[in-house]
């Protein structure tokens, strides 16, 4: 047996490493650099019903050990994703996790229904951290009841397992986690970005044209680890952990905290080969730690 293999609802992963949504497009660019079939899975860029241009630039800004982004869900829209992007990825032997975003429940449902039927889409990642105009500024990701309802609606139409991506910008992430578990979620992914700002000292203006942006990268790792730990104590569905992963021990730590697999976002911009490097480095590190199969790591800290 492959000691790096991880089984999750809908997903047989060769290894627990996958690029995080929004940091890897639909794979084409990184395919110039290495064989995408090496990856455990790919979380592709958020897809919305209609094409979106996104926010004005600057859309990114560096911060200490992190970065802010406000891309604004730019994507070619459901139709193009299903007819062009996903079929292109079929040449690789890698499961695709389709990140789905929207502003109305109906949008989410429409996208999930269709995208879950794409042959290589093995799971949906429901991105509930986007402002929901309908609910008067409350976001799907911060209200447990709304999050649960959305999960139910999406589960009703999706032909593949649904993972809900949790926002860290909440008082109690376990409340949302439990709600979407009740709503039928097959798994959870966390964390999305922390809302942050940076200013230009010369002008006093925010650097990101959108004002606020999402903080990611190593800076947020302690918050992400804490939330993975809390959430995996609170629910029994599996968690894919992310937030600042860049080194092999980060993978170990997220799994010790309770994650079953991990996603790597920002680090792909810093070391474009980080995912295959992590995959390469895992077996030796497991040997050093005296661990046979990587699945033994998951939730280690809870059992101590």
């Amino acid at each position: 047996m492959n000691r790096l293999q991880v089984e999750l609802p809908g997903l047989t992963l060769k290894n627990p490493i996958m690029p995080a949504s929004g940091c890897f497009g639909f794979g084409k660019e990184y395919a110039q650099l290495y064989d995408l079939s090496l990856l455990g899975a790919i979380m592709v860029k958020a897809t919305t019903l209609e094409a979106r241009y996104g926010n004005p630039t600057p859309r990114v800004a560096e911060t200490p050990s992190g970065m802010l982004n406000a891309i604004g869900l730019q994507n070619p829209g459901l139709e193009k994703v299903v007819t062009e992007e996903l079929p292109w990825l079929e040449r690789y032997d890698v499961p695709i996790i389709a990140n789905v975003a929207g502003s109305e429940t109906e949008d989410y449902v429409a996208v999930c229904e269709r995208i879950s039927k794409a042959p290589n889409v093995r799971a949906i990642e429901l991105n509930i951290s986007c402002p929901n105009v309908k609910c008067g500024g409350i976001t799907f990701g911060t209200d447990p009841a709304i999050a649960k309802e959305l999960t139910e609606a999406v589960k009703a139409v999706s032909t593949v397992p649904v993972y809900v991506k949790l926002s860290p910008n909440v008082t109690d992430v376990t409340a949302i986690a439990r709600a979407v578990e009740e709503g039928g979620a097959d798994g959870l992914t966390l964390i999305n970005t922390l809302v942050g700002m940076r200013f230009d000292p010369r002008t006093g203006r925010p650097v990101i044209a959108n004002g606020t942006g999402g903080l990611s990268g190593p800076a947020v790792k302690p918050v992400a680890l804490r939330m993975v730990y809390e959430v995996t104590k609170a629910v029994s569905i599996p968690v894919i952990g992310m937030g600042g992963i860049a080194e092999v021990d980060d993978v170990i730590d997220f799994m010790s905290a309770g994650a079953s697999a991990v996603a790597v976002g920002t680090a792909n911009f810093v070391d474009h080969f980080v995912c295959p490097k992590l995959i390469d480095a895992l077996p030796a590190r497991l040997d050093e730690l005296g661990i046979g199969n990587i699945t033994e790591l998951t939730g280690r800290s809870h059992r101590l």
């Binding site: 660019e29 970065m67 911009f269 474009h272």
Partner: protein, 257 residues
């Protein structure tokens, strides 16, 4: 092919105030081809600063297997880069993006080359290429002041070279467009790189002439995956181009200024 390589520092020197000329050696050099492409540089081993820094390739010496970058040490990342000295290595991803189409200028024609500040470097490799192809390059280089001006002599060896400085401490006092307006004769094509206001001014000054402009935008990935660096365009149905992978050089008119 895009490579990620720890390139050897062959030389580094401060050639004007806070302006550094860095020569790097490595296999990546053989992939460069066109002038005007860029590399994405990791400036620290740790996570602060985190992101890579995009820097244009100024010129290439294929025989020596080296490339030269010229950059301004301003913020955290470039300041760290400027401390590297011969014998050390630099983590470089590249070559990235599409460069200047030197072939747009035919042998025997005149090409106008307009650079501003740290937009000047990639034009040097371009001008070398043009000269070699029998094109007559005419250079207009704009700087804030004499102390941050560089490469006047090097450009001079390739062709007619005019300087403009905002404070008048070297060349014409004023902007590159002031110089352009005073130049006699016609140009078949122009190439430009510099701050956005300069590109806008040059583009309108040169209206009617075929032109290629090199843009800057904040970057994440540098390879087209993150959508950080988009600009609006009417030239394709998507409505945008990415500076990192579709650019940084675009034909005049492609990017909505």
């Amino acid at each position: 092919m895009i490579r990620n390589e720890c390139m050897a520092v062959v030389a580094q020197a401060e050639i004007a105030r806070n302006i550094f000329e860095l020569t790097l050696k490595g296999g990546l050099v053989s992939e460069i081809g066109k002038p005007g492409r860029f590399v994405h540089i990791r400036t620290s081993d740790g996570f602060d600063p985190l992101l890579r820094r995009p820097v244009s390739i100024s010129s290439v010496d294929e025989e020596a297997g080296t490339m030269t970058l010229i950059y301004r040490a301003e913020g955290k990342g470039t300041a760290l880069l400027s401390r590297k000295s011969a014998g050390e290595t630099v983590d470089v991803l590249g070559p990235l993006g599409n460069g200047f189409p030197a072939e747009a200028a035919k042998a025997g024609s005149r090409a106008l080359i307009v650079g501003g500040g740290i937009g000047v470097p990639p034009l040097y490799g371009l001008s070398e290429k043009l000269k070699a192809a029998g094109v007559e390059p005419v250079h207009v280089l704009g700087f804030q002041s004499a102390d941050v001006a560089f490469y006047e002599e090097q450009f001079g060896e390739l062709g007619e070279t005019h300087l403009a400085t905002v404070d008048g401490s070297a060349g014409t006092k004023g902007f590159v467009t002031d110089v352009i307006r005073s130049l006699p004769g016609e140009f078949d094509v122009y190439y430009s790189c510099g701050p956005l206001p300069m590109l806008t001014a040059v583009s309108s000054e040169m209206e009617g002439t075929e032109g290629y402009l090199s843009f800057e935008e904040r970057m994440g990935c540098g390879i087209g995956a993150c959508f950080a660096c988009v600009c609006r365009t009417d030239s394709n149905e998507k409505g945008y181009v990415k500076v990192c992978s579709d650019g940084p050089v675009f034909r005049d008119g492609v990017v909505k200024l």
